[in-house]
Amino acid sequence: MTLEEELVSKLKERFGDRILEAKVQRARRVFVTVDRSAYKDVIRFLRNDVGVTHVSTISGVDAIDHFEVIPHLSYKGIVVSVRAIVPKDKPEIDTITDVIPGALFYEKEVHEMFGIDIKGHPDLTHLELPDDWPEGLYPLRKDVKLEELFKRITKERD
């Protein structure tokens, strides 16, 4: 069994059907989809039981009918992407900074770009957006169009 397959089987063994999907795309690329309620437990398991210490980044995705929060973890060269499904009617998720402190900036970015509340995060002020950015305008959401964002810069575009 490859290391990737071993990882997948460990997760399935520990979490059963709280793992919605787990696949090995290719060498060193594992994609796991979990329910939001299992998200923090999965990260904790990976950190404490498997020994994964490095989070490369956290991608937020607006998948039209739901949001996704995907921390990409690095374990012995394998990128383990743990996708948590976040419903749009209640966009919030637990922080993982108490498990892996290095996730601090990445969670701030997901919050400011998508408007997903990160419960327990020590400081959700803007990371990259300016201080005078309008409240409630989350640039990477699909329903926010580029033209709308341009209006902040100039009255008319060529």
Binding site: H72, S74, L140
Partner: protein
């Protein structure tokens, strides 16, 4: 323990024009804490990416960072190729490797000059940048441009390396190796450099791991984390090289890691030219990328770069996420700038500590806001003011054993 009182600085200081705001909390000459505010460089590339084709995004990717642009184009291409699921020609892997390593060499030399400038050694800065020009020539010869190469495309590379150019490259690498070895000797033996860098900007191994630092920053803290070795891509699976680590966790270690890596990169370029297979340099891949997701990753000069791509069957990405290495390393700056127990950070250490993570921000002067925790006073000094005050006419402003 005095309370920290933040007094507003007053009208905008003209030097506070940087992509980054640093606030240092001081108690006399000692720095007891630091805070960062980033974001002045935010352009909105990820949003723009959803409105442009994959090919167009390669060009904007390369301009995420002009110094290491090729790594971003490479990661985007790699993630997309993973989704498409086709392998690219082997020769293209080798050519990409040469592009990536030449980029590393130029970037590390650039940084060495900037670091020299930050410890008050402008002469060394001039020498290094003069010597770096031969690398820029070789890059221009190979890719057609000094900066922003447009070498990588989806499916391979756009330019080949003919025999005469490869031979010229080898000659330049040989000469460069001698030069870089001299710089290494200088950095090891020059008393002033050692006095200004030893024990400065310390990032302990446990902190580096907890804060998910990357690149030379974490390798100088003894952690052998290098994406080229852990997650082999391009031709790194076939070309032997050493992952350079040092374990003194300070600025000197970071200087030595980068110099040694430059020497390793010179070797990698030589090996890549020697072992390069013949064949096509590009596979024609479909413009419309099938539904799926991919993660592209490589080791930029500053550390791990990661791109996440999600496609929806069209020729535009549904989602494109980029994480450049400096963001990962910025978290470590407040830790490096906090005095704790025996570890004392002085104001004079601030410029070089900050520069030691090789931040991919503008190379110009930076302003730091200082807040004295006992008096509550605050003021702004630029890096060049700090250097003038502390380094001018003195090898080291404080005595060191």
């Amino acid at each position: 323990m005095s309370s920290i009182v933040d007094v507003p600085v007053g009208p905008q200081h003209p030097a506070l024009k940087e992509p980054l705001n640093i606030t240092c909390y001081v108690d006399g000459e000692q720095v007891v804490g630091a805070k960062l505010r980033i974001g002045y460089n935010h352009r909105g590339i990820e949003k723009a990416g959803e409105y442009q084709t994959f090919i167009q995004n390669l060009y904007i990717a390369e301009r995420i960072c002009g110094i290491c642009g090729i790594v971003h184009a490479f990661d985007l291409a790699q993630a997309t190729e993973h989704i498409i699921g086709k392998e690219i020609p082997r020769r293209a892997d080798y050519l990409r490797t040469i592009g990536l390593e030449l980029n590393r060499i130029h970037s590390h030399l650039l940084w060495l000059g900037v670091a020299a400038h930050e410890i008050g050694f402008d002469t060394l800065f001039m020498y290094v940048w003069r010597d770096r020009e031969v690398v820029m020539d070789v890059i221009e010869d190979f890719t057609g441009n000094r900066v922003t190469y447009a070498l990588v495309t989806i499916g391979g590379v756009r330019r080949d390396l003919p025999q005469e150019k490869a031979e010229k490259m080898l000659r330049v690498m040989d000469a460069l190796e001698e030069t870089v070895k001299k710089y290494k000797e200088m950095c090891l033996n020059e008393k002033t450099i050692r006095m200004r860098c030893d024990g400065v900007g310390v990032l302990r191994k446990e902190d580096a791991i907890a804060l998910c630092a990357v690149g030379p920053t974490i390798r100088a803290s003894g952690v052998p984390f290098d994406v080229r070795a852990d997650d082999p891509h391009a031709a790194y699976d076939e070309i032997p090289f050493k992952v350079v680590t040092y374990d003194t966790c300070d600025v000197t270690a970071r200087i030595l890691v980068r110099i040694d890596e430059t020497l390793e990169s010179i070797n990698i370029v030589r090996e890549a030219i020697k072992r390069m297979p013949s064949g096509p340099i590009r596979a024609r891949l479909p413009r419309a990328v099938p539904v799926g997701e991919g993660v592209g990753r490589t080791e930029a000069p500053r550390g791990e770069v990661i791109h996440y791509v999600r496609s929806n069957g069209t020729d535009r990405p549904f989602r494109w996420k980029v994480r450049a290495p400096t963001l990962a390393n910025l978290l470590s700056i407040p830790v490096m700038l906090t005095s704790k127990g025996d570890y004392v950070v002085y104001i004079a250490d601030v410029p070089i500590t900050f520069a030691s993570i090789d931040p991919c921000l503008s190379c110009t002067d930076r302003a730091v806001k200082f807040v004295d925790v006992s008096s509550g006073k605050s003021w702004v000094w630029t890096f060049s003011q700090i250097k003038r005050m502390y380094w001018k006419d003195k090898p080291c402003w404080r005595e060191r054993p």
